[in-house]
Amino acid sequence: MNQELNNIRSEFMALLMDLKTAQELEELRIEYLGRSGKLTQLTKTLKDLPSEERRDAGSLLNETKQIIVRELSEKLAQFSNTASTFDTTVPGILPPMGNMHLITQSIEEIADIFTRIGFIRRSYPEVEGDWYAFEALNMPKEHPARDEWETFFVDKPLHNKLGKLVLTPHTSSGQVREMQAQKPPIRMINIAKCYRRQSDVTHVPMFHQFEGLVIDKGITVSHLKGTIEHFAKSFFGASGVSRIRPYNFRFTEPSFEVDFQCVHCNGRGCKFCKSGWHEVGGAGMVHPNVLRAGGLDPNEYTGFAFGWGVERVSLLRPGLGINDLRTLYSTDLRVLTQF
């Protein structure tokens, strides 16, 4: 009987392998486990065996039956999963899906990049006296450099200490406020709305800048370069390359223009960049007059500052595909839900 059981088991396994449909599976089940199935028949002969053999055969019979039952159900499960009774292509039910704005995503990433190296995020007034926006930044009244900031003025009488009220045309207005609020060491990152009287493909009247200010003993141009590089690599990826070139700002000396290498062409020059580089904004060593305006002694402290456009650096990222800055200020859900 043991031999017979082994044969049944092998035969069953062979037949099972060739099965194609649930119908055939059912037929196979009846052939082995049905009322007159092969295994059922054999069970009926068990009682005819000598008692010493009966125990062994009985347990083997049980084992065989269990195997067949298990194999059948596994095969059935396979059929169920692949058969039309269960359609795995049915779409899932979505949870509510919101969107964080691209500008918010950039701001948080920028803040993170700088707070990682000890910067503290601050915020300062957006409506500010022109003393902080210009004079404290070494731009006396009527200085032609003020023209470069197409400034909005608030229709209000002069404030006796702050001068004319303006919408801050740059985050640099926070520099002297920071110096007044905090003794060196200063490592500030100020990300805020700025306003300029301009509107075209690359300019919007309201935009965001991020301003870095570092003041301590022994701060050098080399530290500024290191900080710019840290940002370029963190924001644009390991291949992010930056450079500084001569420029002029009244509130820094020396002053620099900061360029990031075009990520589309790796600096070879393409339709996005023309020259292989993108200008992102200014930087420089804090002018001694600005340190003085902040109550600091330029013989004791040196520092650097930079101010770049959040939108500008965001749109430089490869694969984003937004060419018009104004897209970021769309209120159309079809735009917003893509961020």
């Binding site: 919101g98 969107n99 608030v154 009247p205 290191g226 500084i244 001569p246 002029n248 000396e253 001694p288």
Partner: protein, 614 residues
């Protein structure tokens, strides 16, 4: 300001083996930024960005000086060729003109009488060069003034000598209400303080901006009074701004020109006019206000400490000499005197740092990460809170939007800050609420029929007397195509997450549900976590009860009333309603024991006394 420099014209003053592309690349790294090269080969033109402090580079020759200083740093040959000048004699007085000046208005005024000219067309070369830099050729008398201005950066003005009556002119500040008609036929009524030139009781020049029509060069001109003036920069700037009258000349004057350059420009022009057959008299030079040139003492340590490099003092000296600075070295101190054309720009040791740094090459300065002590970290961060709120709203399906801070008069009440110079009526005021902007955003999305939730966290600007406005951070949102309960549920969950006990408030405007909260208020009331309570060992009993609503009771009131009936009614949820029948899910709980059915029945009995339970 951007200037155009034709390569061929540049190479008249600089002999170099550098190609235009190399000039562009190298000069941009060390000096002014060469933004573009238009055209190629012989017709290549550089577009150069000149910063306000470097008006000395705003000319062909000025740019050539920078190229010359740059090339040795890139192992390129370079030789600077000075423009050819006429060796004219300059006198303090001449017989052909009497000029009255004022030091505060014109620190230097050079002039010369040139006769024997004809106002015909300029040579093809001069015409071609002027066109290449965007100047329209007129006739050779006028063209040379523009040619020399482009070449040397010093504006010149030629008066028709025969139009000058009495041979007397005076240069002064204008009085309020005076009139002048300029070359472009525009009549200006002056506000006072502009610089003007007067002849025989009439204004003949809106100085530094544009000449007067009454003294202009025409076909009959044979003799000119050619002037090379230096004007007070702030007066030119103020005049050109207040009259909205700009010209290439005013753009140069207002940045502060080199007083020494005026005589050279006149000599250059005389040379060119004489080539055309003109005859020049001795020139007049009224030089009343020579600006001081600052000699700066700075140590090599000061410079190296600011750059993070260790340059030798001899290298520093070489860089400065290449830039035509006068340098002497004593020990570790450099004594530096800038050339006259840098007198206004270079006045403090930091300026010397910049000159040495750019000549060394910013690209050669190493990059170092910051080290040293860290500033004290703030305990509470508004930014973390903003992030939390945004994350919550996003999680509930909110879509963040950035709307403009500047809005129309309709979007604000009576008390809002107005912009003096807005771009338009749609952006004339600083907003005092976010809701108005978000409702406009909702109107923009009429095309969608799906429910949506737009939100924003931003500042509003509330006027405060004469001081700065209160810039108040707020969160606001709009729900469109939404069920009231769904919208309210989001705010309920929002407050729940913030551990703030508050009934959400929604306004309805044209079917849109709107909310707006002050962040400071939320921050004050939020808790980072709830105080923990041990979970009860005893089970609750929960049952649904349907109550008939009476006209005077709102659902919220019924819930409060139910919860007040017995302390063991610990929670009541609203399930739904059918006509006037409201179904609530009531949870009974006793923290000290398991409630028995008779006990629950007793509490239910109290409910039945207060309400009609179905």
């Amino acid at each position: 300001m951007d200037i155009l420099v034709p390569d061929q014209w540049l190479r008249e003053f600089i002999k170099t083996n550098a190609t235009p592309l190399q000039i562009r690349e190298y000069v941009s790294l060390i000096g002014p930024s060469v933004e573009r090269i238009e055209g190629s080969g012989e017709s290549a033109v550089y577009s150069v960005e000149v910063t306000t402090n470097r008006v000395d580079t705003a000319s062909i020759f000025g740019f050539a000086r920078e190229v010359h200083a740059t090339m040795p740093r890139f192992d390129k040959k370079s030789e600077l060729v000075s423009p050819v000048l006429k060796n004219t004699k300059f006198k303090k007085a001449v017989d052909y003109i009497d000029i009255k000046t004022d030091k505060a208005v014109t620190p230097r005024f050079c002039a010369v009488l040139i006769e024997g000219l004809t106002a015909r067309q300029s040579s093809p070369l001069i015409q071609k060069r002027l066109k290449a830099v965007g100047i329209r050729p007129i006739n050779q008398i006028v063209d040379i003034t523009n040619y020399v201005m482009t070449e040397l950066g010093q504006p010149l003005h030629a008066f028709d000598y025969k139009s000058l009556k009495n041979k007397k002119i005076s240069i002064r500040e204008a009085k309020k209400g005076e009139h002048i008609k300029t070359l472009d036929s525009v009549k200006h009524t002056l506000l006072g303080g502009e610089i003007v030139i007067e002849n025989d009781g009439h204004l003949i020049d809106l100085a530094g901006i544009m000449g007067g029509e009454n003294s202009k060069i025409d076909e009959s001109t044979t003799a000119i009074l050619l002037c090379a003036p230096i004007y007070a920069p702030e007066k030119i700037r103020k005049a050109s701004m207040s009259l909205s009258a700009r010209s290439v000349a005013s753009g140069l004057f207002e940045k502060g020109l080199d007083t020494e350059g005026a005589a050279d420009a006149l000599k250059r022009a005389i040379y060119l006019y004489e080539e055309l057959g003109g005859v020049a008299h001795d020139a007049l030079d009224i030089y009343l206000g020579k600006p001081p040139i600052t000699t700066i003492k700075v140590t090599d340590t000061f410079i190296n400490d600011r750059l993070g490099v260790s340059l030798k003092i001899s290298e520093m000296e070489e860089f400065l000499r290449d830039l035509q600075f006068n340098v002497s070295v004593k020990g570790n101190t450099l004594q530096v005197t800038p050339p006259s054309f840098r007198a206004l720009d270079v006045t403090i040791p930091e300026d010397i740092v910049e000159e040495i740094a750019r000549m060394y090459g910013y690209h050669n300065i190493p990059s170092t990460m910051l080290s040293g002590a860290l500033p004290e970290q703030p305990v509470v961060s508004e930014f973390a809170f903003i992030h939390k709120l945004k994350t919550l709203m996003k999680g509930y399906g909110g879509v963040e939007v950035y709307t403009q801070s500047l809005v129309s008069s309709q979007a604000v009440g009576d008390n809002a800050l107005r912009i003096k110079n807005p771009l338009g009526a749609e952006s004339e005021y600083l907003r005092t609420s976010l809701s108005a902007s978000l409702l406009l955003a909702a109107a923009e999305n009429k095309h969608t029929s799906e429910p949506y939730h737009l939100f924003e966290i931003s500042r509003v600007y509330l006027p405060q007397g004469n001081g700065l406005p209160n810039e108040q951070l707020r969160i606001a949102g709009v729900f469109g195509n939404s069920e009231y309960r769904a919208a309210k549920g989001i705010l309920t969950a929002f407050f729940h997450e913030l551990h703030i006990k508050r009934e959400p408030k929604l306004q309805v405007v044209n079917g849109i549900y709107v909310y707006e909260y002050e962040l400071e208020d939320l921050a004050k009331n939020t808790k980072p976590f709830n105080t923990f309570e041990v979970a009860s060992k005893y089970p609750s009993q929960i049952e649904d009860i349907t109550i008939k609503q009476t006209a005077d009771k709102k659902i919220g009131e019924i819930i409060s009333a139910l919860e007040d009936i017995d302390v063991r009614i610990v929670h009541v949820d609203y399930i739904d309603s059918y006509q006037e029948n409201l179904t609530f899910r009531v949870r009974y709980h006793d923290p000290k024991k398991t409630l028995t059915n008779p006990e629950v029945a007793a509490i239910r009995g109290k409910i039945e006394k207060s309400f009609e339970v179905i």
